[in-house]
């Protein structure tokens, strides 16, 4: 390959690898590697979903892996809907995924603290009956 083209490819590729670090954001397919970089001093928030089916009285934990989502990915999706005040829309979508077979959905927020016990609370709940 010509020397000039080789230089262009090299500089472009290395700049692209570095750019997300400089701009502190992902520029897919080039990513920032900020996982676990934030200090965990003040507690870390995690969301999960509890569901109750129509012909059942028992609460079940919604398993996102059944739909190809990891627990941490579900956490981020819930966070996105919760903090943009669209959590009802999210619950409706979860009900739709379950073929409208749910009686109730609860969004559970857990905060893990480094110095003390974690806290758990239901931050949103929706009934479908």
């Amino acid at each position: 390959m010509k020397r000039k083209l080789r230089k262009i490819v090299s500089i472009t590729f290395l700049s692209a690898v570095l750019l997300p670090f400089i701009l502190v954001t992902d520029l897919y397919p080039f990513l920032r590697f900020g996982m676990f970089a934030e200090p965990l001093k003040y507690g870390y928030e995690m969301f999960s979903i509890q569901i109750k089916e129509k012909h059942s009285q028992n609460w079940l934990s919604y398993n996102p892996e059944y739909h190809g989502l990891s627990k941490s990915l579900l956490d981020i999706i819930v966070r996105r809907y919760y903090y943009t005040k669209r959590i009802e829309e999210f619950c409706d979508e979860i009900n739709r995924i379950h073929n409208n077979s749910l009686r109730e959905i609860s969004v559970v927020q857990q905060i893990i603290y480094p110095h003390s016990a974690s806290t758990t609370s239901i931050v949103y709940s929706k009934c479908y009956e």
Binding site: T25, F33, M35, A37, P39, G68, L69, I76, S118
Partner: protein, 370 residues
């Protein structure tokens, strides 16, 4: 570039670096405050939405200080990068010893056997990756309402595909990988396969969370068509520059991961409490056992970050030490699996490290045949 141009460039970069560092508090605050209060111009709003879409909901969760700090970091990092490039440029042209040192250590000879072994290892693993990705995308067709395309896919206007289209993409990907494995038009099919991989992994990443599982593997595969193209040459002085780029990119990834931790958390990242919280967030049996020990939490935090900050030295160390670095890297990744349940034992990061191995010098039966 001649000596005088290089010195001029180094000087300009140093000046820009100093200006950026001095002006960063004034340049950032007003823009960030306006964006945070939703009073920015439409241009700034669109720009933020384009490169930092999470701002829309993160601003409801985090205080303004967080964003001012993040934005200042951008200018500080730019400033540091310019200063670094300036120093390297100046030293390269000023000191013969430095120039010779870089040339000696960063020249990677093109060895056809090595390229051949790498092609077989990486593309065999690629079959596994393609199958994993296909499976995951097919499952996500049920939750496509949560699809939020990454920048590249937004620009290309790619919606979440139907199961049939995912099947078609996967089939083409598998055929391309197999063609590379059988060395049939390998340059062409390696290029096709990386394009498809970027699109499919992009679809997978477009649900709000960045998945780093295949990142270094993808960087390596991005350069592989160039490596295969170079290996077609019969010249004796051919250089394996794409292989060097693969190595440098992996070193940069580890270095950037370490620097992210230090720039965001400072020395608190080395505190045992920080590591303990990490272990509690990703509970495993071994991790929870370690979480009770202040000593082990401190050692593992310091060891992890030291590894990430020092891995780039692998480019400059002798062969035996190189294998020490590689073994440490493998232990680091499997440590993450055991302690934090992050990744798996079939690990793309570990496979990507194969680009550091001089396969033709190893005495495995499979290599002996050459």
């Amino acid at each position: 570039m001649n000596k005088h141009t290089a010195y001029a460039l180094a000087f300009v970069l140093t000046v820009v670096s100093v200006i950026l560092f001095m002006l960063q508090p004034f340049l950032i605050s007003e823009v960030v405050v306006k964006a945070y209060e939703g009073k920015s111009s439409s241009f700034i709003t669109n720009l933020i939405d384009l490169i930092y879409p999470r701002f829309e909901y993160e601003k409801n969760r985090l205080g303004i200080d967080f964003f001012i700090n993040k934005s200042s970091q951008i200018l500080r990092r730019m400033s540091a990068l310019f200063l670094f490039i300036s120093l390297i440029t100046f030293s390269y042209y000023r000191f013969d010893v430095f120039r010779k040192f870089l040339r000696d250590h960063l020249y990677v000879e093109l060895v056809h056997k090595r390229v051949d072994v790498l092609r077989k290892i990486l593309y065999t693993f690629f079959l596994f990756v393609a199958s994993d990705l296909t499976h995951s995308l097919l499952m996500r067709t049920h939750v496509s309402a949560f699809y939020q395309p990454v920048l590249l896919l937004r620009i290309m206007g790619i919606p979440f595909p139907s199961a049939g289209l995912i099947g078609l993409l996967s089939f083409t990907l598998f055929v391309s990988i197999i063609c590379v494995l059988f060395n049939y038009r390998a340059v062409l099919f390696s290029a096709i396969s990386i394009i498809l991989f970027v699109i499919m992994e992009g679809l997978h990443t477009s649900f709000g969370k960045t998945d780093h599982g295949y990142t270094t593997f993808m960087y390596v595969l991005m350069m592989f068509p160039f490596l295969l193209n170079e290996s077609k040459t019969k010249k004796n002085d051919a250089s394996a520059w794409p292989l060097l780029l693969m190595r440098v990119s992996i070193c940069l990834v580890y270095l950037m991961s370490g620097l992210e931790k230090l720039t965001n958390s400072g020395t608190y990242w080395l505190d045992h409490l920080n590591f303990k919280t990490l272990l509690l967030l990703h509970p495993t049996d071994v991790g929870l056992w370690i979480a009770d020990s202040v000593f082990l939490c401190s050692i593992l935090a310091i060891g992890g970050i030291a590894f990430q900050l020092c891995f780039w030295l692998i480019l400059f160390v002798p062969l035996r030490l190189k294998y020490f670095f590689l073994i440490t890297a493998v232990m680091f990744h499997y440590g993450n699996v055991i302690l934090l349940d992050i990744g798996s034992f079939i690990n793309a990061w570990v496979i990507s490290l194969s680009v550091f191995v001089d396969w033709e010098k190893l005495r495995f039966p499979v290599v002996k045949r050459y």
